[in-house]
């Protein structure tokens, strides 16, 4: 009886511990809150306008990396902040790009230097519809959040 208990109790602890690891998986909403701190929402440096939660599968061999596309309205004479936060539970690092009708205007990843920025600022001079493209580096599976925040009128 005593021997059985010796096995059962540690086993139960291990199961509980294993179960608990799931509790620490980051949800999209938790990432939004973390990313809000990166953006400076708590300090009043920027005001949240919209959050985008992106979860993409790994690219299939020979195929292009999956991407998420969103359209947003941005206003002239306004500075915006785009903050990009990646979930620690997935290998993918999100690459953010903002286009007008056909031109790349903003990105958080400069291919030539390999520099990756968790947040980028955009000084907008034309009110209109812009298109956000989000992919994960090397087509890896990923979960990320992109926040669009208002910084100030220019």
């Amino acid at each position: 009886m005593r021997m059985k208990t010796i096995y059962i109790i540690p086993t139960l602890f291990l199961i509980i511990l294993f179960g608990n690891t799931k509790l620490y998986a980051q949800s999209g909403q938790e990432l939004v809150d973390i990313c809000g701190m990166v953006a400076g929402h708590a300090t009043g440096d920027a005001t949240l306008l919209k959050d985008f939660q992106i979860k993409l599968d790994e690219a299939k061999p020979g195929e292009e990396a999956p991407r998420a596309v969103y359209s947003v309205v941005l206003s002239k004479n306004t500075e915006y902040l785009f903050s990009i936060c990646n979930s620690r539970d997935y290998p993918g690092e999100a690459i953010f790009q903002l286009y007008d009708n056909n031109r790349l205007l903003v990105t958080n990843y400069i291919i030539s230097t390999g520099k990756y920025y968790p947040k980028v600022s955009f000084k907008c001079s034309t009110t209109g519809v812009y298109h956000m493209f989000i992919t994960f580096k090397e087509g890896k599976q990923g979960l990320a959040v992109t926040l669009l925040s208002f910084v100030k009128r220019l």
Partner: protein
């Protein structure tokens, strides 16, 4: 002793086997699979999926309120829609559009840190949100506490914006984009109403231009609403907004292309767009738009 331990540990094991709230990502649609009479049952011009691809933030109460404050116009409670007749918002259609209107008013009050009057609005928003079954995303208790204590005003703004985002996402994910569109329409109408009221008292070129540039925004809003035009209530709203859109034909918007540039400052990458946009709007056109917006907005809030 060992038996007692097992009795203690077993419930713990069962508890951890059940997913916690935090584990469940944000897909609440699976959690609340309830029949809903307010799901739009007519045929959509475009799919719900494509609806999600349409502009995500057609109107933002934050930006309009920030502009009004930035030009130095004092706060006025008189501009806001009354919350006295909240019970008159008695259909899903009225509740959703009312949510947008009160959401815009809340943004305006938050921008001016007017926490004393905010409580009525967060209460009204909670009531309307419950009415279309999205009240679970509106953190009334926290917002009320922040407003009552008159502290953490940035958090008040942040939480209220985030709550509206969550409601919007849930409505889109649960095939109730029609209600999401109405919230957006309500925010837009009230924001333009606020701008118009401010312009009447304190004429300002920047604010007038803001009204002019809504020509672009309104065309996107109409695109969104026209998906549901087979519903007579939507048809009526679209007809009202079409009159405003018709007036906007008198507004001219022209562009001059420039090369965008990027600079790095203190480790932060800053992109500057160098295009120019010229908005021409006469005073006559401006006041025609303002007057018609007042008419449409008052028709909604007087019910």
């Amino acid at each position: 002793m060992s038996k007692r331990l097992i009795y203690i540990l077993l419930p713990l094991l069962l508890f951890t086997a059940c997913p916690s709230d935090k584990q469940k990502d944000t897909d609440f649609s699976k959690e609340f699979e309830i029949p809903d009479s307010i799901i739009y049952e007519g045929e959509l011009e475009i799919s719900e999926q494509a609806m999600g691809d349409i502009v995500q933030n057609i109107s933002s109460p934050v930006e309009i309120a920030a502009l009004i404050k930035a030009v130095g116009v004092p706060y006025s409670q008189d501009y806001l829609a009354t919350t006295d007749y909240i019970d008159n918002y008695n259909t899903s259609f009225k509740k959703a559009i009312g949510l947008g209107i009160f959401g815009a008013d809340l943004g305006y009050q938050n921008m001016y840190n007017k926490t004393s009057s905010v409580i009525d609005y967060i209460h009204a928003i909670k009531t309307l949100a419950d009415g279309i079954r999205v009240g679970q995303f509106f953190d009334f208790t926290t917002l009320k506490r922040l407003a009552t204590n008159n502290q953490n005003l940035d958090s008040l703004m942040y939480i209220s914006v985030q709550n509206f985002n969550q409601m919007d996402r849930y409505l889109r994910e649960s095939n109730r984009s029609s209600l999401s569109s109405l919230i957006v329409a309500g925010v837009w109408i009230e924001s333009i109403y606020l701008l118009g009221e401010v312009i009447k008292k304190s004429p300002n070129a920047e604010l007038s231009e803001k009204i002019g540039e809504q020509k672009i925004i309104l065309s996107n809003l109409m695109l969104l609403l026209k998906n549901y035009e087979r519903d007579p209530r939507f048809k009526e709203l679209i007809d009202d907004l079409s009159v405003i859109q018709e007036i906007y034909r008198e507004v001219t918007i022209t562009y001059e292309k420039g090369e965008p540039e990027a600079i790095e400052e203190d480790g932060m990458l800053i992109f500057k767009q160098n295009d120019k946009q010229f908005i021409e709007i006469s005073d006559e056109t401006l006041f025609k738009i303002i007057d018609k917006t007042v008419e449409v907005r008052n028709k909604i809030i007087q019910l």
